[in-house]
Symmetry: C2
């Protein structure tokens, strides 16, 4: 499927078109960590040198995955850990990924109130030159309530961008607040209802809106309930691989077309050269081949176990 | 009161000592906005020039308030809105404030899971050269649960830093999730209980721990209940001034010594030159005198209406 002329720049439509075009829902997480970098990338000490190595490493990953997947998700924390030099590297990585035709979901889990939320939205939302950072989407935290989310959806709609709001996170401690029962429903379902309302109000041609939800593969039953309750919301699924989520666990998140969800894998792909199954075959110096193999393996696993397999036959 | 030799580098102790030393609990919020900068500061267009103007403006504010107050709170969003150049300005402003003897609370409302939360903690927590950004404290969002907060308190304890967790925020929409009733208590009280547990476990010589809470002046009754329920937790109070909170509204947040809370004011101090009460007297070019007058006025108001008045007589 090729992009139609005059196709809408609506975020969910752009993402769905990219998923259809690539034939899979894999989201590659860019979580650089000094201790896991392939040999030879880190040329010297200090934050500046490490930032250069992160940028170089991420460009190397992007070169491999750009022909294969629809989107990447840089994790802001690992770049910010290097101070301002890391921020410069993050911006460079985002531009590089966009230049290679990838959609970029910035994982910053930002939020604040009123005009401060608007400042974050204007900072991160908007591909290419339409925002300072150039993200297609941003992850957002919901604790501050509805008036902290609308500045993001307002900017997102204007700039063809999207947000993914934390609903049911993949970590064990996520349940501490998210599963508290309010009127016979866990808290995360109340968050889900608000996000779904925003998605429904902004649904594009594929039926999905500019507000999506983060829901972990580590809670497959809840993932299915969330899919049912949020029929207009794209789901960003963390927790696949290293955290224990499987392709089968992700199945309930997809619609009948194989759309509606993107499944993130960070360590399992970008540091595949450290995993036994790829280490022997490729060794450290051929780490990009390990990234390629791990990405293709994940695509195959999701195709075998979820409706996303239909994308390959379309 | 002077700092004792070998005084603990415990964050709450350092903050309490600074409050006692300055004789007031005012926290000056550094929220630069292009449209409100005093005349002459913005020398040209573009993100780089604006970032330089933000840094110059914040240094000017810091020069005025450093002799008067204990701490400043730069708002990360406004710096990030300028892309990497803004991040460089933020780091510069933090260093400058630290160099002037101020404690710095970075308002980033960050969080994530596990090792990613640890990356944010290591990025922002730790004054001076002990962390890349050099913050004494960071605001943190609680939605991700207990295992997302412990990486922050672990790093905070090691580096003499602190966190302020969002409990009851000052915005109208905060109630949408924070006030949902769980077991006959609003959600924010459940968050408060977890934070208080962490504070109690890390209490220093003043009785306060490294985990504090954000609780808005716009909800004075709840602020008093939070003070009662969180006897080991420092409170960071937004919502004073522009959002409608008064000095009297803040009174329930303080202990009998006039300690236990810091009250933030951003626009009301840094953009005092735009307010009628200071504009006529100082005009735009004498904006630093307006900052000085507004800071002293706020100190007086809190001294008159809260137990913080006792700090002036100590």
């Amino acid at each position: 499927m090729t992009t139609a002329l005059n196709a809408s720049n609506h975020f969910a439509d752009r993402l769905c078109r990219a998923i259809v075009s690539k034939g899979n829902p894999v989201l590659v997480g860019l979580d650089p960590r000094t201790e896991s970098l392939p040999p030879g990338l880190l040329q010297g000490e200090g934050l500046e040198q490490t930032a250069k190595a992160y940028a170089s490493f991420c460009r190397g990953v992007i070169d491999v995955v750009a022909p294969l997947v629809a989107a990447v998700k840089p994790q802001a924390a690992f770049f910010e850990q290097l101070g301002p030099a890391g921020c410069t590297a993050l911006a460079e990585v985002i531009r590089y990924a966009s230049g290679k035709g990838l959609l970029v979901v910035i994982d910053g889990k930002r939020n604040d109130i009123g005009t401060t939320a608007a400042a974050y939205a204007e900072a991160y939302l908007g591909p290419g030159e339409s925002s300072p950072w150039g993200g297609d989407a941003l992850t957002v935290s919901p604790y501050l309530g509805d008036d902290s989310l609308t500045p993001f959806t307002d900017v997102a709609r204007k700039r063809g961008a999207g947000i993914f709001v934390l609903v049911k996170t993949s970590n064990p401690g996520g349940k501490v607040f998210q599963d508290l029962m309010v009127d016979e429903q866990p808290l995360y379902r109340h968050v889900a209802a608000l996000v779904e309302e925003m998605s429904k109000a902004s649904a594009g041609e594929f039926g999905y809106g500019v507000a999506g939800a983060v829901a972990g593969a580590t809670y497959p039953q809840q993932l299915g309930e969330i899919r049912q309750a949020m029929s207009h919301s794209l789901l960003l699924i963390p927790g696949y691989g290293a955290q224990g989520g499987t392709a089968k666990d992700c199945a309930p998140a997809f619609d009948d077309r194989g759309l509606g969800a993107i499944v993130n894998n960070s360590r399992g792909i970008i540091f595949a050269h450290q995993k036994n199954e790829y280490k022997e075959k490729f060794g450290g110096s051929r780490w990009q081949e390990a990234v390629d193999a791990a990405t293709r393996d994940m695509i195959d696993q999701l195709a075998a176990e979820t409706s996303a397999g239909r994308l390959r036959r379309s």
